[in-house]
Symmetry: C2
Subunit: 229 residues, 2 copies
């Protein structure tokens, strides 16, 4: 079923970088390719956009088709279009990135991939195309963004402890933070809801659980509030 145009057109794909936090390791979802080129190699989940398909819809669809992951908030990262980045010819890819609570999301090889799974960003297999560069940019964006937008909460379960939150920042920013100062600062922001519950089944004093007050955050943003950690 050939499609003919008066001028040459590049192919357009989407790729997804989905980060998760496993204890103190930052991980990313990769799939093993089922199709040529680079069959069996590891890659970011992604693929061609459909006819008259919106970019974000395509990203969500491809992610679901290859990893089974659904209902994940994806945000556009960057568009890569260097000729030569794909051996099949001029291909432009729009990269999306998302953050999930790793324990609550388990990628599995869905229809369009041989395997799918979480990989530590520090121990990656070789990636196809320019996916290593895309991932690198996603990591930089994550580091930059986490300081002034409350995106970190996406990486945690809905209910989390202050220590988990602190470790998250320590992992992403790659530096240690003072416990007392961190708690003071976070609490003072007024964006955490104290659930008046504690952890269960831990072999030490159980920590209080908190959730992120997204409603209040949105209210504050409306009034010009700027989140900073």
């Amino acid at each position: 079923m050939p499609y003919t145009y008066d001028f040459p057109r590049p192919s357009v794909t989407v790729d997804c970088i989905v980060f998760g936090l496993d204890n103190k390791e930052l991980k990313v979802v990769l799939i093993q390719r089922k199709t040529s080129p680079f069959i069996d190699s590891w890659a970011l989940p992604g693929g061609f956009i459909g006819e008259n398909e919106a970019l974000d819809k395509a990203a969500k669809r491809e992610l679901a088709e290859e990893t089974g992951l659904k209902n994940i908030f994806l945000e556009q990262l960057f568009t890569f279009g260097d000729p030569g980045r794909d051996p099949r010819g001029h291909t432009i890819t729009v990269a999306y990135f998302g953050l999930v609570s790793l324990n609550e999301h388990n990628p599995r090889a869905a229809s369009d991939a041989k395997k799918a799974g979480w990989f530590s960003v520090n121990k990656l297999p070789e990636l196809v195309f320019d996916h290593a560069a895309i991932l690198k940019m996603a990591l930089e964006r994550l580091k930059g963004k986490v300081r002034y937008q409350p995106i970190g909460f996406e990486l945690l379960p809905k209910r989390f402890t202050l220590t988990q939150l602190q470790q998250l920042y320590e992992t992403i920013l790659e530096k240690t933070l003072d416990k007392r100062n961190f708690r003071k600062k976070i609490i003072r922001l007024g964006l955490l809801i104290d659930l008046n519950e504690t952890q269960q089944d831990v072999a030490h004093r159980a920590a209080r659980l908190y959730s992120f007050d997204e409603k209040r955050y949105l209210q504050l943003v409306e009034n010009g509030f700027i989140f900073e950690v």
Copy 2:
């Protein structure tokens, strides 16, 4: 000269949002379209990417072809791809934005546009396609970015006064700043070079001129420095 592919492909274009500062007004470069659709309407400079052409190259080329503006630093903003944004069919556009010193850059209608010029962002003509939405996003990015990256300097002449710099921040952030506090803060950053020169031909006390110390900025960034105003 028809081009045939096995699967449907969207068109891909680039659009440029170039901001300039005119006294206390933020302005943007627009062109009057020479071709259908929307002939004679105002639009952001832009057009189709070429065969095997890199995205940033295409943006620079289109900007030069339509406005004559060259050697302008452009940065990728966002990619817009909603089906329906272009009546000719599925068209994805990669938007770039740039900042220039308005007095030093005069857009003129080059080969691919009927007219070209600076428009105040507060007094815009009706724009074609979704260019109004693209511009809105560019403005938001500018506001967000100016606080933690020294991009504002791009909007000023190489030699500028502290008052000019302050007015720049006041214009972009849409609020007034205290002169003494602003000066203290900016000087303390250590990113300005005092040129030991003063304005000429002004009808009042001549102000000292400064330039931005980009070398030093890059050094500091290497060492983890974060710019904040």
